[in-house]
Symmetry: D2
Subunit: 295 residues, 4 copies
């Protein structure tokens, strides 16, 4: 985890990026926090009012937010009154600087290439995905606890899908004494689910499996909870959808059927922003170590 | 769990008692729900507008609320416009009827004795205490998730005390990947804490042990978190107090020191009322079985 | 799990195949058990003394052992005095029969192709690998309990590698209260290890990580425990190698250094043969279902 | 855990006492190991060939074995050719010395009183009982793994009783993926069993509950597994009895019925003697701290 990068610019973003800036400073690095002026978690001494053109040429590494930009033009900066173009940052980078951003669109990757800059997308990193899955699972459980009039202990939870989030959910829900069923497609996944102590069912039998569930948590980015499945639910069952757009639940059908559905997106940044920032920081540190090892 | 009691009066209470009434009816019992008129969870068909004097003489068993009464005179009935004296219920009971209530004061026990009635306090039952502890622990974890800007995964949790609630907390928090330390007094408890996979510390060293904690959950009904202990906490640590009155935290000191403290009482009825009702029902069923076995 | 195959030949093998035959018969299938005469677990009524040439043409499905053959010529049959060539079986199969075997060599696959037979290798199936990993992990823990003069509770276990067996080991050892460290290569695996509640170390730092270990369990099929690593172990540490040939431990160095090493191969068939047979049976049933679905 | 006792005699016993002596020496204490000459685990430098009369007057604390004596006369000393009377030790102790032994009979307590010596029985200490229960549970699981031809994963385990050993068994067996049922008497215990994630059954229904079990582990020191219960077992079920004499299984009936039964006594000293010694040492250290605090 050792690397020799000393000066960092952190540009834009939210509480997560503020935490990255704070932590880098606590490690003794030189940190310039731009476009984060109104984020109260940011240590006041780190606020940098200068322009990217003045600061970026000084930095060994630059940390852009997650997402990098909402409009493929300006850096995402909800905690700043300033508006700065991504292009205006990329054009002034110090040669050889390490550049990080989250959820980089193909357009932005193409833009970076024009400036001969290689931007590393930390959202693509496996270690970040694993840790974010853990926080996402926690957030989903918090929603279930908040919404259900029953305890999770003794409740029947159905998880759809068996990826990283599902595995984190299994650990939490089993620790809470829930009865956990997981739906998956392949025989290999079904065997793993049983090995992890849960009941395994096939996704093509969801219509039957949902009948007993008190809560259904979907983790699959595909339309799993169709009208026939939703109509088989108990009337007071809760559905939590963790799938990114377009989501795993037929919301129109859920509305018609009166199925209580919560579509929870981007949980890590919302429910545990400091931990989410820490995860980004560790991921960036791993990348910096790799960059140095590769030299 | 078999017993032959057929007709039940459920008088007063909240969602928990409404659930008891609903479940008894679902089992085919004759159920009269009094003083629950405005509780929307109660099945409409069970609402009974008659007086206790008309209904109680007909019943094999009578279920009073938890607490039985707030003023040692009237039955607790937040979901009714009617006011009924406990004495006016006890005076009309059928001889030999089984009578249940929660948190019966010495005054109310004395009153029952005047009417030659033995009231069973379901709050005193071990099985209810165990199951309520599980829900209380869930509720405390939900509060921690709600309040903390960090994930519980990887967080440092300090539990004060090692009774039923603490053991339930251990299971949940370890399943979530928290690092759990438990403070207890006796060497036997310290050994059990280690056997359950946690770090054990002595309560007389709390001042040192709290230093690293992200969240402290007190389960001991005594002033454990005194000013010296509170002042050793990290500035952003969260304290959750589950101890009944007078509570385990010096709230005045916490206020002075700016320690975020949440005093959470009676969690089962608030966070999982349906499960809490189910627990009351099972406990009553156990009592009824025992009453019949004893005959 | 439904299929319509009715008549089965089970040829050769050990207790696992005997269990497959017994279970198929218990399901009401017609079962011919060949080359298993002296296996005492086989129900006596299933013993078939006829030749493959007489039996195989009658069967919907044929189950060969694991491994299919030790010499690329004769069917493995330690519980029979008879010797039967694989070729002499393949030549008489009923057209369209489903054919299963374990650990099929390229030579045997080529032979099957000559007879226009598609042999399915159940050892290649993901669900069998997952379940066998669970039994292998159990067997490794049994060895550690047998060999160590200390309890696993509180012991320091180092697992090398983070595949299926390692994940099963983690579940078991953590349930036993061991302190578990896992060595892996990628940042993604390291994150998963932490998500599963263990300490994660990099395999390139094994020489340091092994120092504290009471027991080291290698699951990586590569020479991980080299002389420098072995010489860093505590003098009373135990090494269990689960890697298939050529194994993960430099046995010559271990001998020189006096490191107690146990190379445990093919644990499922040895420590839990009945469960291993059940796993084979379920895998074959999955394959039969897939064959029918594909039609 | 701090105390100021400096000189220790360790007299008699087995590998556990040898480990106590080794560890005390490693802490820098002055240690005289008597009647342990042939125990190979004892560091050679600690062997003391002098008589108790020469050594004991020099010592701040004296550690007798577990059990103290097998015949109420001589110190248990299987690793010595010498025979020494307990009385001849008690008569020469330094006034105020701390004296420890395990399983002290009323006769031996009376003898100590004659010499005005207070012997502390470390076997009576709660922390030792808790930790020994953990090792006993491990040992029982090792036996089950050794004896059963099936994996514990997926097996049906019935634990009779819900004390310390049972709770340790639950943690281990659930971590291994067994399906665990626990039989207990009180409604409170039944609720705790469910809170710990297991199925709870009443001990008075054992005859029914044992039917599905692959392995039954008795922890209750009473005749729980009577002939009617044993005859309801599956023919290949395994019974492990952890109850001290006279044991919890009707062995004669088990013999008649052909039920495989293993009566496993004193597991800690047998399966994990070093850990068992460590537990004794920690317990003695706790006692020494208490003795000093009390002054």
């Amino acid at each position: 985890m050792m690397h020799s990068y000393q000066s960092f610019a952190v540009i834009g973003g939210d509480l997560r990026q503020a935490h990255v800036a704070n932590q880098l400073a606590a490690q003794g690095k030189t940190v310039y926090a731009l476009l984060l002026e109104t984020n109260e978690a940011l240590h006041r001494t780190l606020i940098c009012e200068k322009t990217p053109g003045e600061i970026l040429p000084l930095c060994d590494a630059v940390v852009f937010p997650l997402p990098l930009t909402a409009d493929d033009e300006f850096v995402s900066a909800p905690f700043s009154a300033r508006r700065v173009r991504v292009a205006d940052c990329l054009s002034v980078l110090r040669p050889g600087a390490a550049v990080f951003a989250g959820k980089i669109s193909p357009e932005m990757h193409a833009l970076a290439e024009q400036f001969d800059v290689e931007m590393i997308d930390y959202l693509e990193r496996e270690e970040l995905a694993v840790k974010n899955a853990v926080i996402t699972a926690e957030g989903a459980v918090a929603i279930a606890m908040e919404e259900l009039p029953i305890a999770l202990f003794g409740s029947r939870c159905l998880i759809v899908g068996h990826g990283r989030i599902a595995r984190a959910l299994i650990r939490i829900l089993r620790g809470m004494g829930a009865s956990v069923t997981v739906a998956a497609r392949s025989y290999g996944s079904l065997a793993e689910i049983e090995a992890e102590g849960c009941r395994a069912v096939r996704t093509d039998a969801l219509k039957t499996s949902v009948k007993a569930a008190d809560v259904v948590i979907n983790t699959v980015p595909a339309r799993m909870l169709t009208e026939p499945v939703l109509s088989a639910l108990k009337h007071d069952a809760l559905v939590i959808d963790l799938a990114s757009r377009p989501g795993g639940v037929d919301l129109a059908a859920a509305g018609r059927l009166g199925v209580k559905t919560i579509w929870a997106l981007s949980l890590p940044g919302k429910t545990a922003p400091i931990t989410a920032g820490e995860i980004i920081l560790h991921t960036i540190e791993n990348c910096l170590s790799e960059l140095e090892e590769a030299v």
